[in-house]
Symmetry: C2
Subunit: 334 residues, 2 copies
Amino acid sequence: MPSRPSLVQIAERVGVSPATVSRAFNRPELLNDATRERILATARQLGFRPSKVGSSLRSGSTRTLGLLLPTMSNPVFAACFEGAEERALKAGYSVMLATTGYDARREREAARSLLDHRVEGMILTVADPARSATLAELAASGVPFVLAYNESDRHPFVSVDNFAAAGDMVEQLVASGHRRLAMISGPLDASDRASKRLDGVLDRAARLDLPAPTHVSMPRHTAADRDRLRSLLSSPRPPSALFCSNDLLAASVIAELATLGLRVPDDLSVCGFDGMAFGALMVPSLASVHQPSSEIGSQACHELLKALAGGSSRSVRLPHRLSGGGTVARLAVD
Amino acid sequence: MPSRPSLVQIAERVGVSPATVSRAFNRPELLNDATRERILATARQLGFRPSKVGSSLRSGSTRTLGLLLPTMSNPVFAACFEGAEERALKAGYSVMLATTGYDARREREAARSLLDHRVEGMILTVADPARSATLAELAASGVPFVLAYNESDRHPFVSVDNFAAAGDMVEQLVASGHRRLAMISGPLDASDRASKRLDGVLDRAARLDLPAPTHVSMPRHTAADRDRLRSLLSSPRPPSALFCSNDLLAASVIAELATLGLRVPDDLSVCGFDGMAFGALMVPSLASVHQPSSEIGSQACHELLKALAGGSSRSVRLPHRLSGGGTVARLAVD
DNA sequence: TGCAACGATGAAAACGTTTGCAGTCTGTTC
DNA sequence: GAACAGACTGCAAACGTTTTCATCGTTGCA
């Protein structure tokens, strides 16, 4: 197993200068056809491919983007990744991915590591853009970045309008005859999305003269806590519909309800937020606010690339869409 | 926005040699306390962090691993990624992730790109290790790699024993009173796992004197084709249980069955393979062969790190586990 | 014939680090 | 007082590229 040959060794072998070998790969049109072929043939034969490490150093450009997302276990972020990756690939960029597990410390470390690798730009989702140390550091570093899913008035982002979207779901629940709602979320301080969605729910409920929806916060983002769920349902006038701040949580809620002997939607309606592909496969299918995750990723990447090309990134709000599902019952009017 | 300072500029600023600055970060114990502090302070103040590009070039080590997986939309691979990432992180490695979308061409391009970036090792899942051009190239390159999910007698891998695992599921189905089985998979030539699982099913069925299970191949890995499903069920003696070669496919099958008016498990039993976390949240919960995806990722990474440390990687078969679920009915004996 | 322009290639510097070797102190030991 | 050890730091080369500038033939044209 020969240690990878370098451009210089190819040059020696072929009997040309390193510059010429370099040109054979980067500016092939500059070379005499015969020379070029001779070089490429030798390169192929020896298994040579130019090292990006060397070229990054010399050119000052790594052609690599950093992606910093909470977790890949949430299909929303997985889709976002794929959207961004595809877009990056088309533009000739590679992707370094790091996950934070919703942990601020890991988030900071990972961002630093990405910067150390000299990624040229970054796409990331943080807990709360207003208080994120990571974001401050990133801004100070001068490396362009675009937020995904977060909303911010200080930094470019790509997301849906969480406030409005949550409100629209309330409206749809009301249209189905529901008036007593509850919002279920994970820890609010670890997700500005969840906060915005809750605000949207409360606001719209108020406008529609609904009784103020209860809010229950679960200890984890994507798993329902059985006791808190039970206590919510045993209140004097329990909700007829549970709006969960994300789809995984909704699925978990439904599963917990089943263990409590409650069937969805017959005994209780449930809906989520995200529109993950999987929701459509559930039986009954999960009602949700669909956000175009893959597009969020690709758009974020697109905006980032604009910045890298010397332009500047704009914030983008992509349209959401209510995807009705079998988990919300149509109630007879009181 | 000041362009990132280099180690040399810090050196000048502090009034020491570049070597000393380098040591402040890599061998701090070598330095006089005062010097070290002066350097680190200036570095912090100017926002300097040593560039991995420079150090990779000089040291010949990028401390980066490549991950090449079919898709992040399948939670199995997402979990595998997270397992590997965590393990890599602990060892001080970063991760470059690329997805192939089950496409051989993209697979090859992505592998090359990772090699160009001089990843020190690679973890990957290919369609069929025996015929993979990517794998051949990779082996020729001399970069160590470990297969995940694939099984091979020529390359190190980490996976479950697909043949045996599928057989065990057959056994469990039989224990629940099922005798007429069907296996549903995606395109076999794009997944050696699916093939092995099918073999396992056929083999065990034969041993148990079952009627030979039908096999239906769907055009896509994770989506059921309605027509093929219908034609399977309208055969003279239709199966009572459908064994799907992965969980996403199983979920899709269940959803399709629902649109055909068939309820699971009352009218038909369904089970999958993967044990994705999500299956447990389905109602009823999805019966499946659980493979420890996160551990597959971390073990693969572990084996890879062993190779990088000068040792060699061994193939590992991790234990599978049948996770009984509500989607398989317990039939009365004929 | 002379000169410009062009095509093809080479020489060398530069990118940001790391590290073996050598050097300068200081303090210690006979 | 000399030799020496140890602590600390500097010098300079090297890693694999890219790119500017220069060079050398050739060709086209006046």
